[in-house]
Structure formats: C-alpha cells, structure tokens
Subunit: 231 residues, 3 copies
C-alpha cells in the first residue's frame, strides 16, 4: 500500500470511546434484571460499549487493535463509565439527551469503521459492513454479555438501518472523490438524524411475519422441522 | 512460506456462503420466540450463517478475512437471505431438503476450513479444530445472537461429530498424499452422510449423566459448590 | 522489534490449559439446566475453558494463536476434559480443591496474558486489560455458550478484581525491572490469594444501586427510557 493509511485523530477516537462508555454505563445502571450488576459489571459494560466497536472493526480488518496501542483508550472508557454511573440518576431524566448521544455514538463508530476499512483497501460493500459492525457491534456484545435479547435483532427503531445509511453515504461520497473528513461529517449527520427521527416518529421495519401470510398454527408446527438438532 | 497458498475457488466459496445464507434465513423465519424478529433480523441471521464460519476460520488463522476481500460474499449472503425469507413457507414443507442442505453446508465449511488451515501451515489437530469451528461456528453465533440455547451443546444428532469426522477425513487423506480436491469431496460426503443418517435414525451421544451414576439430589446440591461466584 | 519475543515455556502453557480444561469439564458436569449437556457439550466447555483465554489474548494482540501452532494444546485440553468428566463425582465433593484450582487458573492465564502483551510492546494499561481478558475470557465464553448469566457481571466474589490485581502486580514489577519469571510467580500468588480470601470471607463489590439512592419505583420506570429500541 503506497498511499498513506488514513488516521483517525486520537481526540476524535477518544471522544467516541468516551461517549460510548457513558452510554454503556447509563444503560447498565438502568438495568434491573433477575440478577443485579455490581459496580464492576457496570464499568465492564461501559468499556464494552466504548471500546467494543473499535475492537470488532480491527479484528475484522486483521490489524492490531488501535484501542490497545495507547493507554488513553482504556482510561477514557473507564473514566467515562464512572461519569455515566455517577450521573445515571440525572441522565435518565434527560431522555432526549440519551437518545441523541446514542445516535451520535453509532454515527461516529460507523463513520470511523467505514473510513478505516476503505483506507485498508477493502471494497465498498465489505467496507460498509465493517462500519455497520463497528457501529452496532458494541451493543451486540453488551446484550450478549448481559444476557439480554440482542436489540438490533428485534422489531425496533431502525437502529442498524440508520448506521448502514451513514456508512453507505460515507463510502459513496468517498467513491465520488469527496474529502474524507467532509464525507465523515455528512455520514455521522445522516445516521444521527435517521435514528432520532425513527425514535421520534416510532418508525420500524415490517416483521418477517408480514411477508409470508400463513396461519400461526402452521408456523408453530413448523419450528421443530427447521431445527432437528433440538430435543 | 514458499509453497503457494491453497486457494478455494471463488465460485465454491460463494456457493457455500449462499447455501448458508438460505439456511440461516429459513431458520430465522421459522423462529417464534418471545420477541419477534424483523426483516433485518432475519437477514442478519442469514448473513451470520453464510459468512460467520469463514470469518471465525480466518480470525483463528490470523489472516485477513477472505469474505471481506470481495464485494461478492456479502451480496451473495444477502441475496440468499432474501431468497430464504421469500421461500420460507415453501421450504419449511420440504423438510428433507432442509436437512440435506444443512448437512451439505457444514460439510463444505468444515472442508474449506481444514484445507485453509493446513495450507497456512497448522499441524493436523488444530487444522481439524479450525475446520470444526468453521463448520459449527456460524450456528453458535446465530444461537448466541438469537438468545437460543446453543444447539451443538445439547443432546442432539451428532452435529459437531459429523463435522469433525469430515475434517479428520480430509486431514488424514491429505497426510497420505491424496489430492486436496478429491479429499475435500470425500470429506464433504462423509460429513453429509453421517449427519443425514444421524437425523434419520435419531442417533445421539450419551448424556454426561450416564457416566457418573449419582443421585439427582446430590447432583443438585453440588451445583453451588462448583460455581461459588453466583449468588 | 529487536528484543527477542518473550516465550511462555510450553510445559507451563500446557499446564494452564489442562487445569482450565479440568475446571471447565467439572463446571459443565455439575450443570443441570433446562436442557442437558451431552458428553460432547461437556468436552467443548472443557476446551473453551482451557484454550479460550489464550485465543482471546492472541486475537486482541493480533498474533497467530499459540494454542493452534502445536497439536499438544488441543490434546491436553481434551484429555483434561475427559479427566474432569470422569472425576466429576469425586471432585465435586472436594469443594476446596476446586476453588483453589479455579483461582490458580485465572492467576496463570492473567500472568501469561499480561506478559505476552508487554512482550509484544503494548503499553501498561492495555497489557493489564489483555491479561484480565485472558483470565476471565474463557469463563465469559463458557457462560455465553451455555446460556448462563455471565458470572463476572453479577454480584460475586471479586473474580475479575483478583485477576486484575495480579496483572497490575506483574506489569508494575516488570516496569521496575523485576525479572519476568519472578514477577509472574508473585502475580499468580496475588490473584490466587485474593480470590481464595474473597470466597472464604464472602467479600464482594457493592452493587450499583448503592451509589445513587433513588426509589425503586423511579428506577423501574426509567428503564424503557434508556433503551428505546425495545418494544
């Protein structure tokens, strides 16, 4: 590779990590399941949300994880988790602030992921895929570790779709020669706006059920057929 | 490494990815849990089943994921998921077709995984391990993302055993100098036949319980002892 | 990198893998959930506990997984799982032996993980992070594959804290020029002792709830606010 590798500025990367950490700790603080999280558990979810997206991105790209090359990422994610924990009571009343924060975080992770994938030389489609994985991967890890149903899998509010729209925008603008920083700003805006509008207007994708109109009785009977390994 | 790296032909790889995508979407379409999947959720499971095995294989081998080096993998997996979704009603009546399709998919992923691991220079035992992970890894990811009990962990129908038999066959034949393409065809056949026979004759491994004959009361009492971190 | 890479002696690595395998199989043998594990399931958990920590460590470091470079790791993990399965009845009565074994395993994985991360050139903070991931990662994988709540997330007995204390000790001693082997022995002792004392005296971290004293009713009402993607 002769062209210089695209470098995400450290301050921008750390900002995304810290926002993700706050968001993760807020989420985990609000969690009241069968088993309670201890303080460490809340901090772990903050770190997972702050650093998980970047780790997944770099694993998929097979490059050394950027978040482990400097002390600052873990320090930023941990401090942000602490801030999120301490302010959980306050923030949870600021409903709108959380939704905007969350939308911004997936926009940032998606844009950084797609940019880095393109810089490493991936074609357009997988570059968008890596961006979406970076945007939603932290949340998937969070849900799996917390034993929750994975949010993006279920009838929701265009979470992954908003991320994908931003990543496609960035890759498209980049293909037409638009400056990467400008393209990234537009991409983050696209994701953030779609996500916020989806929450505000409660838009969601149609369920699978709508596609093939069959009676529920038949559908239920069909389940053991699909998965014969189960008892 | 002076010898040329073994290359799986793109058409063969894409066929396995597409079959996996169809199988994943069929599975997810038939799913009726507490929370319903939306269309995106079904597509995600299709992509996970089509590309997950290859991604896990390449992560374990620490090579750049092949499925992200070309646009075609994601396009094939996504189109296959759509086909699987649209034909879900039809396919679920073709019970046998699904079982054969599934057996073929784990055979293909296992053979490609073992071949690539041997080509990268892994010893025999870990090469078989990578093959089995490639064969069953997509299904494990699928179950973890969908919040289901992981199928291969429970009393089932020799799912992982069939995969392992094929991978051992390939590695063994390769060690005796058999041509890799021929070895791969035999290996896929071994896995497919074992898996289909296991389903047809309902063969399964003995449960752990059979090994140490102790009273259930004692066993239940013993659980908190093994895991003292739980409350 | 001009300095020779730190190499964990094979016998030490295999010992940790085998102890982890025994511990994993003991855990899985004692498991009585809704769905029963078959023999393969127990062996898989043994392999996951024996090799999972090392795999996660090498994935995070982006180096070729050491556990796949030799036949011995998988053989050791599998044989250890078999031993664990056969002796499950005996071991589960030796409550103390299991707790000591478990504490020793996380100490060893933590020390090896931190050492290797430092040897690869990671700064202090991420090196400790990689060590902790290596120590507790196998257990997280185990719980996710078995569909259990992830143990380290919940009010427990300083599991991850004990691992972190050992990793910090090793990294600190190394920074002050202490010989790595000596530092590793001290680090393993620190982790093991803290973990055993925590179990004996039933010490645990305070819950998140203690931090922000709000009424439970308000907290419960706040949950849907934090996670608007859920229905």
């Amino acid at each position: 590779m002769t062209e210089p590798l695209f470098v995400i500025p450290l301050w921008a990367d750390l900002t995304a990590v810290a926002l993700g950490g706050i968001q993760g700790a807020l989420f985990a603080s609000g969690f009241r399941g069968q088993r309670r999280l201890d303080l460490l558990g809340v901090a772990i979810i903050g770190i997972v949300m702050g650093m998980g997206g970047g780790l997944i991105r770099d694993l998929l790209l097979n490059v050394t994880p950027a978040t482990l090359q400097s002390n600052w990422y873990l320090i930023a994610a941990t401090l942000a988790s602490l801030v999120g924990m301490l302010l959980a009571g306050l923030f949870q009343r600021l409903n709108r602030a959380i939704i905007v924060l969350d939308a911004l975080v997936i926009g940032l992770f998606g844009a950084f992921g797609t940019s880095k994938a393109l810089a490493v030389g991936l074609p357009l489609v997988p570059a968008v895929f890596v961006g979406v994985c970076a945007a939603v991967g932290g949340g998937i890890l969070r849900d799996m570790i917390m034993g929750l149903p994975v949010a993006i899998m279920h009838v929701g509010s265009l979470y992954a779709v908003a991320a994908a729209a931003g990543c496609v925008t960035l890759a498209g603008l980049n293909a037409f020669g638009v400056d990467l920083v400008l393209a990234a700003i537009i991409a983050v805006s696209v994701t953030t706006v779609i996500r916020i509008l989806a929450v505000v207007f409660d838009v969601s994708l149609p369920e699978q059920r709508v596609l093939h109109r069959r009676k529920v009785a038949i559908e239920t009977a069909a389940i053991p057929i699909v998965r014969p390994t189960d008892v």
